[in-house]
Amino acid sequence: MIKYAVKRILYMFLVLFIIILICFVLIRMLPLPQLPPGDPHTKVVMMQRQAMGYDKPYLVQFGLFLKNVVTDFNWGLSDKLYYGQEVWSVFLQKLPATVVVNLYSIILSIPLGIGLGIFAAVRKNTWIDYLISTLTVVVISVPGFVYAFVIQYIFCYRLKWFPLVMKSGTDWLSPEMLKSMAPAILALSLGVIASFTRTTRAELSEVLTRDFMLLARAKGLTPVQATVRHALRNCMVVIVPGIFGEFLGILSGSFVIEKIFSIPGVGSLTLNAINGPDYNIFMLTTAFYTAIGLLGGLVVDLSYGFLDPRIRIGEKG
């Protein structure tokens, strides 16, 4: 298992490397933003660009870039949005907002999603199950920004429970911050709740019909005991990797939500970098999103293997 894990991790790094190489070359091929004539920074910017190797072949540029990143984790300087600041430190300022919002939404989604799923599976083929399943399909189908608008209109404007946009500041864990993030958290969570519900319901209703459940009942366990101790445990094999995957998934998929609720996170940083254009920031966020995506797949695969010895994907191969 460890050998398999190491192999997978090394392979992930290889893929990451290739993707970063391709994106790097594509970004460096873009025309550089023109400096306004007579800009006092012209000389500095020109020297920076020379230091980044803009006058050398792409592979040499990539070598320089990689050397800086690997040796002192230097991703270059921002030359448009945050003039002269280290890209990495800008990124670190933006990261907490995204992570905190996603963390809250996962914390909200796990109990609700799994709870509803269990409820629907236990009451299978009753009206409550149909209701939950229908809602699940609807919520999963409708794109997140649609209910983000609904939430913004109803909760922020009509009922005035929450502020319209997130408050500024860095007190990520304070109650006021939580309150101002609530609409965004809710908008992000709905889809995640629905997908947990769907997975849990499908998995649990299948496990509940297995023979060992009959045995559990036969040996005298109550339905609740049997469900909790035997059925749920089996479900977790599927659900827990889903949680990891979902967390990393929404970390990379909340551009629209971040824009609607003005969350100063990585998503809005990326959008600004694209519109800037600020290529160094864009390069860093590209690497970030790629890494998150690959990590998501890896974590899901590995956790399957760790949780359930029966499934060890591709271990032999």
Binding site: V137, V146, V150, Y157, V256, I260
Partner: protein, 501 residues
């Protein structure tokens, strides 16, 4: 048992015993799937909704009297208004004005009296508050009222060239609809230039000064010195012929026009906005049709191209297996590892100038969109390639291509096509999200898209929620119906996996 021997008879003596020929018609795989599909209520409902939406996107730009480039620059983000239905209380251009006091009610009455179109629809709520004002208790009555937003706009100032001024007068004479109203000099209305709706005596705060009997005191200008151009057309009833209808403005004339009637002059008909207007002054009804049409056509096009590429790629992987499979799989890992938003952005930056915005957007979708189809095809080919019928055709000397596309592919087609149908909602939602975020701007290509409509409306969620509501409902229904339809098709083609998700 005691049965007399003579009672025993052979059941069949002459006939040969054989199975009866099946009397029912054989049902093909496709017909079988269709039968299962039509039995699934939710997918049938989804199919109907989808049909409705498709008809909507085809017809709405035709029904709408406006083309996608017709943008009115005054009626922006206005509520839905259909004059023919207004008296029924539907689509009456109604907007709710919260907490209006007597002063604003009087102002509305002024507009109604002058233009002859009463913006007031009904009182929704009466609130009375008691507050302290300079030491004494004052009771304030406010009303929540519903007002026809189109009429409530009333009069606006416009500057016309002399020719235009003549044309409007001619149109007035032909149709009998009054556009130009008598001019009011700022000095007669306490110098208030920001409110063109004042035609009566006001105090410096803009409040109407009324007669004893509660009527307005008109202050229309009669000073011929100020007149911009001669006026020879409809006059208001109280006019004795001395009122002037325009003011001088270097080389042109300034008028007070009733915007609603000016609109009729300009567009040739009354405003007709079934879903209201967008923040750009477009007809939302037609714009959703145009945007939705683009989304649907684009998604289907992308899905078909991806189906094609994915099938070929997956079939090579699945059929040959081994080293070919491994190398192709590694390429897939790299392709699917790049986040889509990055792909779309890079394509926009590199290709948009060369092949157009829509073209580069299409390339971006085609670059990675087929990965899931390839995986599906690969699985199916793995399943079938060892089967007897494949071996048989090999033995008969069939080439690889023939075995792959003549023998295996038809067996896998159902699964692959349903996989493709399930791609469509994802494509639509990414397309909408990216145009919402402004990463791609397709408005020059297709007029508008659902994403652009959403992003234009998102600033107005509070004041004009309909600009967000209708595009959201459209895209929500589209997504739900495509997903249900896709799930229904999957269950119909692979009954074994039913309810798997």
């Amino acid at each position: 048992m005691d049965i007399p021997k003579e009672k025993l008879v052979f059941a069949k003596r002459e006939d040969r015993v054989s199975d009866e020929v099946l009397k029912t018609k054989p049902r093909s795989y496709l017909a079988d799937a269709m039968l299962r599909f039509t039995k699934n209520k939710s997918s049938v409902a989804a199919a109907w909704i989808l049909l409705f939406l498709v008809i909507f996107v085809i017809l709405s730009p035709v029904i709408s009297p406006y083309s996608i480039n017709d943008k009115d620059n005054v009626y922006r983000a206005f509520p839905s208004f259909v004059p023919a239905l207004a008296h029924l209380g539907l689509c009456d251009g109604g907007k709710i004005y919260d907490s209006q006091n007597e002063i604003s009610l009087t102002a509305l009455r002024g507009i109604a009296e002058e233009t002859g179109m009463d913006p007031f629809i009904k009182v929704l709520n009466e609130n009375s508050q008691t507050g302290r004002f300079r030491g004494s208790e004052v009771k304030r009555e406010t009303y929540d009222i519903k007002v026809n937003d189109y009429y409530a706009l009333g009069i606006v100032y416009r500057v016309f060239s002399y020719e235009e001024f003549e044309r409007i007068q001619k149109w007035q004479n032909e149709t009998g609809i009054q556009v130009i109203f008598p001019y009011v000099l700022p000095r007669d209305i306490e110098g208030i230039k920001s409110n063109p709706n004042l035609w009566y005596k006001v105090d410096p705060n803009g409040r109407a000064v009324l007669n004893e009997d509660g009527s307005f005191i008109p202050v229309y200008a009669t000073d011929k010195e100020e007149e911009g151009a001669p006026y020879d057309s409809i006059r208001i009833p109280s006019d004795d012929g001395s009122y002037i209808y325009s003011a001088k403005k270097s080389g042109s004339v300034q008028c007070r026009i009733c915007y609603y009637n000016y609109y009729r002059y300009h567009w040739g008909h009354e405003p007709l906005y079934i879903m209201g207007t967008s923040s750009m002054g477009m007809d939302l009804f037609g714009a959703i049709g145009v945007g939705g049409r683009f989304s649907l056509v684009f998604a289907v096009l992308v899905a078909v191209i991806n189906l094609f590429i994915g099938t070929i790629y997956g079939s090579l992987q699945g059929y040959y297996g081994g080293a070919v499979d491994m190398i192709l799989d590694r390429i897939l890992d790299v392709l699917s590892g790049v986040p889509f938003i990055i792909v779309a952005t890079l394509f926009q930056m590199h290709l948009a100038a060369r092949v157009g915005v829509a073209g580069s957007f299409l390339f971006a979708f085609v670059l990675t969109g087929w990965v899931s189809i390839a995986a599906l095809t690969r699985m199916q080919f793995y399943r079938f390639r060892g089967m007897e019928f494949v071996m048989a055709s090999h033995t008969l000397g069939a080439s690889d291509a023939r075995v792959m596309y003549k023998h295996i592919l038809p067996n896998a087609a159902g699964t692959i096509i349903t996989g493709c149908a399930l791609l469509i909602p994802g494509i639509i939602s990414s397309e909408t999200a990216l145009s919402y975020l402004g990463i791609v701007d397709l408005s020059s290509f297709s007029g508008t898209t659902l994403g652009s409509l959403l992003s234009q409306g998102s600033a107005l969620v509070m004041t004009a929620p309909h600009t967000i509501l209708w595009p959201s409902i459209f895209i929500g229904l589209l997504m739900i119906s495509f997903n249900l339809l896709g799930n229904g098709l999957r269950d119909a083609f692979n009954p074994a996996t039913k309810g798997g998700e």
